[in-house]
Each structure stands twice: as structure tokens, then as C-alpha cells.
């Protein structure tokens, strides 16, 4: 908008009697046409490829075990991200605490779970029974293998790993808030908990959300690792089918379509979440009017700043 106004102002300065001819970007058009042709050729070679059975793709796209696999992928992603976020919050706060024991525990947790392969962690949890045949509290115990289903093992493995990464993301977010904010809140008599919940975290969220969105999308695909512990998420379901009918490419395309759809939905969700935590485009309707008032302020400011030059 600023640029537009500036350009118009420039055009006005040159005067109406001069005809302006904008530069034609001929080279740009040539490059665009070549690139477009390449894309069309690639698309054609796929669509018209006699080795791809498009009918099968259409069929398996909504096949029951694929749908169930997609559902499990979504469940694992959402739950692991939620648990990871909570763990991340807890360990980030522990890591910044002045208590050396809490601090040490948080450091060790982050060090261990970021430092060992995710695959190893998943296999470990699935095989927990070798270490503890029965788990429980006091005299109440259960057989580990009945609790540690593939889904539960996958969830624990993914969440604990995610928590370590989220702890660092949350910590960076909290450190990114101006210390003056905490100081002002302290001076007003807020308790440390009130300051964290009402001042620091809401502002840190703006820094936390974008990398968390990245994590969620990465998580979506990392869930495919759980095939090693035979949890039936999306990719595993596809593998089970193509192991029988050898439509390997077709089923990989089906799975990829689903991953893309879920990623798209997640990206849109992230966009709205970012808007929610951005003041001035706020959540309570008040934000929108504030945005409008900012626009009027800007235009008023422009008028004010152009007025004197107009006179001069």
C-alpha cells in the first residue's frame, strides 16, 4: 500500500501530460513458459503412464484400511504433539528454573531424547516387557505387554522425543519476550505464576507457533516410523496392501495424497492459530476494529506527512 501511494505520488509529480511506458519483462515471460512446459510434460508422463493404474488409486484412496491408517496417523500426530507441547512447557520452565536439581533433570532429558535415534526409542518402548515384565504401583501391577500396545508404545516414543524438541522451542519463545515485560509485571505485584501465564507465555506463543507447526508436519511423517513396531498407521496400511497386490507406486501415491491433504489442513490451522495470538487481528471482534483504526491512523499519518510538503 505504501509503495502504491508512493508510485502514484511519483507519477503525479511527473505530470499528466507525460505518457509512462512500463518496462516489459520479456526474459521473465520466456522463463515462465519454459518452466510451465516442463511441468506439463512431467504431469503428462505421469497421468498418461500405462504403468500407473489410476483406477486402483481411486479405489484405494477411500479403502477402509487406508482410511483407518490415515485416522491413526492423525491421532498419533495430534496426541504426540499435545503431550509433547505439555512436556516441552514443563521441561522448558524446569530448565530455566534456579533450582539446580530441576535444571539438571531437564538438561538430561533434553540431552538424552534429542541424542538417541527415534527409531531406537520406539523399539525400546515396544519391548519394555523385556525390562519390566509387569508394571504398576505397589501391589497393583499389570502385564506390560497388554498395556504396551503398538499404539501406546508409538505414542510414548513419539511424545517423549517431541517433548525434548518442544522444550527448546518453548524456551526460545520465553527468552524472546522482552525482559522489561516481566519487570513491569513484577513491579505491579503479580506473582511469578501470574506473570508466566498472563504476560510471558501469551507473548512467547507468537514465537512458539511457527516452529511448532514445522514440528507437527514433521511429526506427521515421522509417524510412518512406527511401522517397525507394527502399529497400523497410514504408510503401514499401504505397505500391507501392496505386499499382497504389488501395486507399490499406486499405494505410495494414495498415501502421499493423504499426507498432503493432512499437511494442508494443518497449515491452514496454523495460519488461524497465528492470527489468534497476534494482537490487532484479535479474537474478540475488538481486534478487527482495532485493525481498522490502525489503517485510518496510517492514512491520517500519510495525510499529515504529505500536507506540509504539498504546501511547500
Amino acid at each position: 500500500m505504501d509503495v502504491d501511494t508512493a508510485e502514484r505520488a511519483k507519477a503525479d509529480a511527473v505530470g499528466p501530460q507525460v505518457h509512462i511506458i512500463n518496462l516489459r519483462h520479456r526474459g521473465r515471460s520466456v522463463v515462465a513458459i519454459v518452466a510451465l512446459l516442463l511441468v506439463v510434460a512431467l504431469g503428462y508422463s505421469l497421468l498418461a503412464n500405462p504403468n500407473i493404474n489410476w483406477a486402483a488409486i481411486g479405489y484405494y484412496f477411500t479403502e477402509e484400511s487406508i482410511l483407518r491408517g490415515a485416522l491413526m496417523t492423525i491421532q498419533l500426530t495430534v496426541l504426540a504433539m499435545l503431550v509433547g507441547l505439555v512436556l516441552g512447557l514443563i521441561f522448558a520452565i524446569m530448565r530455566m528454573s534456579e533450582n539446580p536439581v530441576l535444571n539438571g533433570i531437564a538438561n538430561a532429558y533434553i540431552w538424552f531424547f534429542r541424542g538417541t535415534p527415534q527409531l531406537v526409542q520406539l523399539i525400546f518402548w515396544f519391548n519394555l516387557a523385556f525390562l519390566f515384565p509387569r508394571i504398576g504401583i505397589g501391589s497393583y501391577t499389570v502385564d506390560t505387554n497388554t498395556v504396551m500396545t503398538p499404539f501406546v508404545a508409538a505414542l510414548i516414543g513419539l511424545s517423549l522425543n517431541e517433548g525434548a524438541y518442544m522444550a527448546e522451542i518453548v524456551r526460545a519463545g520465553i527468552l524472546g519476550v522482552d525482559p522489561g515485560q516481566r519487570q513491569a509485571a513484577t513491579a505491579m505485584g503479580m506473582t511469578p505464576t501470574q506473570i508466566m501465564l498472563r504476560i510471558t507465555l501469551p507473548q512467547a506463543m507468537r514465537l512458539i507457533i511457527p516452529p511448532t507447526g514445522n514440528q507437527a508436519i514433521a511429526m506427521l511423517k515421522v509417524t510412518s516410523l512406527v511401522s517397525v513396531i507394527s502399529a497400523r498407521e497410514l504408510l503401514t496400511s499401504a505397505q500391507i496392501i501392496y505386499a499382497k497386490n504389488f501395486l507399490i507406486i499406486e499405494l505410495l501415491i494414495v498415501a502421499s495424497f493423504w499426507y498432503l491433504i493432512i499437511t494442508t489442513v494443518a497449515t491452514v490451522g496454523q495460519h488461524y492459530l497465528e492470527k489468534w495470538f497476534n494482537p490487532e487481528s484479535g479474537r474478540n471482534g475488538r481486534g478487527r476494529s482495532a485493525k481498522r483504526s490502525r489503517l485510518t491512523q496510517i492514512s491520517r499519518g500519510l495525510k499529515k506527512s504529505t500536507a506540509p510538503t504539498g504546501k511547500a
Binding site: D178, G180, Q181, Q183, A184, A185, T186, A187, M188, G189, M190, T191, P192, Q194, R198, I199, P202, Q203, F277, P279, E280, R286, S289, A290, S293, R294, Q297
Partner: protein, 256 residues
Amino acid sequence: MNVPTWMVEAQGVRKNYGDLEVLKGIDLQIPPGSVTCLLGPSGSGKSTFLRCINHLEKIDGGRLTVDGQWMGYRLLGNKAYELTPRQQAHQRADIGMVFQQFNLFPHLTVLENVALAPRIVHKIAREASEIRARELLARVGLHDKTGSYPRQLSGGQQQRAAIARALACKPKLMLFDEPTSALDPELVGEVLDVMRDLASGGMTMIVVTHEMTFAREVADTIVFMEDGRVVETGPPDQIFGSAHSERTRRFLTRVL
């Protein structure tokens, strides 16, 4: 009962940052209803002393009381017990502070900025706290900015909003740390006007400032600090007219 004579009383207050001794024994007595301006060169410890008064910083020696209460401690017999963070917060709740960088909360509207502490610190109902916030904002000339966010305001407006926010908890003492230093020259006046108004209303104020005209006109007492010590204390006429200390005179000729 025994009514404390001094709003703020500092006796031999010391503060170190590591090996650096920033306050080297500050003695100061500030009566209720007075305006005290703290002057001194950069690095002399003015901000640090101000932050010790509301216990944003813990002092390393001496004693500091506000309205008769030891800041950060509770006195029982001949022992001073350190307060918990919650108790410290409670102690700070009726001391207002205004910062050079305003430090308004950017994720809240101006109205929410002012109404927040009364609501969550003093447990006043939302409606009552917002009515009072509107009154205070009107008093500092911001009645039409209640729904705006801080970054939509000019520096002068932000600082006036910050003053309203500090006043919302009905403080018995207001601390100002260079409230106009971050402002464009043409915006300084509107903030000083609000402060002048506050002073004439009888508020006890301690102001760190480089605005000599304001200090001369509004202050009851000028305190000149250098290198972690109070060099000279006195009424403005005396300090500006015939300071005893050579260092004070040198500082004043440099800034005036």
C-alpha cells in the same frame, strides 16, 4: 499506632553486581507527599536504587523501608525473615513504577493494560476495574484510545498509558525511571504535564530524570548521586543555585 514519618527510608543501602559495587551505602529519607528528583551521571546507580526500593533488586547491605515495612523481609524480634515470592509481590502491589521504555503489554489493549493488575492482583471485579481504568485513561487524556493496542500509540501516549496503569492499583508511592528519555522532544511535555498534575495531587514521587526544568519546578528535594553514593541533597533552589559540592556544580553546568 506508630505512623512512619518517612515514606521511604534507606540506611546504608548497598548493592553489588558480582564484583562491581553499584550502591555504596545510600542514606535517604523521603517524606510522604513529597517529590524527589534523582540526578546524576550515567552509571551512578540511580536506576539500581529505584529498583531496590520496590525490591526488584535484592539489596546486599543496609536496610530499606517503604511506609515502615522492610522491603523483602518480615521483622520478628531481632530476625528479618525473607519473604516468599508471593509475599514480595503483595508488598510491591501498592508501589507504582514507570519505565523509560514504557513496557506496556503489547498483547493487551490499553484498557486491559490498565485494568489487569487491579483485577488479578487486587481481585477487583472486571467491570469495576474497567470503569476505573477508563477514568484513569481519561485523566491522562487517552479516553479515545482504550481499545487500541500499545503499538498503535505514539510514544507520549504510551507513556501516559503506562502512568495510568501504574496508578490503577492506587499506589502510595510512584517511582519514575527516566520517563521521558525515550521520547521525541515534542512529546516530552505531555508526559511531564501528567506528572506535574500527579505531584500537585499530593502523590509521593521519586523521579530519575534529566529534565532539569521539571526538577527545578516540581521537586521538593533534589538528590544528586555519583558513583553509588549520594553526594548532595537539598531543595532545588539550593542545588541549582549554590550547590555545596564541586562535583554537583560540575554536573549541573554540563547538563544545563
